[in-house]
Symmetry: C2
Subunit: 312 residues, 2 copies
């Protein structure tokens, strides 16, 4: 906070972006700011959410809205943020939205047109929050598949790891496109099964009376599902793809972590999803191969070989 | 032919690949070879098919099988190859298969694992042909959506042009992923409408009696649809993407053609599909924007701007 106030920029990320601090009220304790706000935006890497929210109480959150930009599962609890908030703070899903989509921060900061998807059970709330974010270079989309979009954001990191592993093993672009297309299909299969709320009401049905909306299942080719998967799998700057590439080249998980000085989100996610899928029982040969390579010492070449015959 | 016999390689493409000419019987006149073969594989750019097949007669083709690797629409007739063969030679669709999928030739020649999809109304025939191509580095897939896979191969070039135009206009990776995801969706919408035969019988239904197959609509996330779209849109070597990039940078169609010394397939395809879609009436804002930019002098920036609000 002190650095931001005196130097007007974040010392760690996107350092070239300056902030007008007259427009910011900065707190180090989230509990202290809660009385001042209506809507809490949580944008913290999933592994640090728990510690960062420690000073909050159920009372603090009462009547507030939460917008989550957290892309991952809380690792200790194996929970999405909405599940964690419900569990610890008794926070209702109806007051929760998630903002997801292919939105690399460098490009947003550079004012390159990007698309954000705001998902919530309460479509009116999601629309209201979406409107606050829309501007020249941000188009916003509203959907109600709040559980699905969060899992999509988790799964894409696992598939980017898989794409990285294949690249590291020197599979070519032909294979990579087959792998990523099949990953998109596998993701849709999981989301269809996991969703507790899979009804999209944002598409107007011209046959229905004015004001009524046509109910249909989510469009898994939309940007928040397929778009985000593509940008993550195809970007050479993606941490998950780079991490996978090192694994494919023969690095151990430990040495890849040391070399990159970070943990790729897909590493923990592959285990979370593997465990979750013991109940869901979706067909996930690609995600399972990534899990076995990272967590069960299966050789990358063997793990990848096993899925070759499952691809269509 | 003379060059191939004496120098053992093709002088124009993949020059480093040598052929064992003892295994090849070479003809310059397709009519002359027809009595020697059961299955004619046509692998000619669509613009040259008509001239190359000129010496053939209906009699030549009687009882033969045709396997098409032609990726495009015959420009003068605005027809797929099967339609042209039916029209000119009265050739039945039942004896026709198409081989498609993300299969850049350099990688196949380099023995990098690739996936080919063999599509035919007669699944047994498609399987038989597929088996003849399968080897260590070629996995084959059988499907029966013979019309759909051919249109998918045409459409992907239009969308790669669109991706190139967006890149040339300096849209970023976030936007590109949204555009390509929406292209996949638009393609599926067109294929659903255009298909005269959209029943895939290759998936076994465990609930059905043994030997019976479950009928379902094509899986548009499969490699022959989404995979081929991805490899074409994301490859910086794709001719269509490069051509689009030049258009986005402000080159005219004529000067982009001169500069590249070739016509990108997507250029003609955008017009063919635009005309075809006058009857089909699928929602195709992206393909239509590409058409208008290339054929109706719409400025690339304006054309792209128009589709921004249609993307989800």
């Amino acid at each position: 906070v002190q650095h931001l106030l005196t130097r007007k920029h974040n010392p760690h990320y996107l350092r070239s972006v300056s902030f007008d601090t007259r427009l910011l009220t900065l707190y180090t304790d989230p509990g202290a700011m809660m009385s001042q706000i209506d809507c809490l935006i949580i944008a913290i890497p999933s592994a640090y959410v728990k510690a960062s929210l420690q000073s909050l109480t159920s009372e603090n959150l009462k009547g507030k809205f939460v917008l989550s930009a957290v892309k991952g599962i809380l690792p200790d609890e194996n929970m999405l943020l909405n599940e964690y908030l419900a569990h610890v703070y008794d926070f209702p899903l109806q007051q929760y939205c998630a903002v997801m989509g292919p939105c690399h921060a460098e490009e947003v900061a550079g004012e390159k047109l990007s698309y954000l998807t705001f998902s919530g059970l309460d479509e009116a709330l999601a629309s209201q929050i979406a409107a606050a974010f829309s501007c020249d270079y941000l188009n916003s989309i509203v959907n109600t598949d709040v559980i699905g979009v969060q899992y999509a954001a988790v799964l894409k990191n696992i598939y980017a790891l898989g794409a990285g592993i294949a690249h590291g093993l020197e599979y070519g672009d032909n294979f990579l496109s087959v792998l990523i297309a099949n990953s998109a299909d596998e993701m849709a299969g999981f989301l269809r099964k996991v969703g507790i709320q899979h009804i999209e009401v944002g598409v107007h049905d011209s046959a229905a009376p004015v004001g009524k909306f046509h109910r249909k299942s989510p469009n898994y080719a939309a940007s928040v599902y397929l778009g985000d998967l593509l940008v993550t799998c195809y970007s050479p700057f993606s941490r998950n793809r780079s991490f996978g590439n090192m694994i494919g080249k023969g690095y151990s998980v430990r040495s890849a972590q040391l070399e990159m000085n970070m943990v790729a989100e897909g590493y923990n996610a592959s285990r979370c999803i593997y465990m979750l899928n013991q109940q869901i029982a979706a067909e996930m040969p690609i995600a399972e191969a990534v899990y076995r390579i990272l967590w069960e010492n299966v050789k990358p070449a063997d793990g990848m070989k096993q899925i070759e015959s499952t691809l269509v």
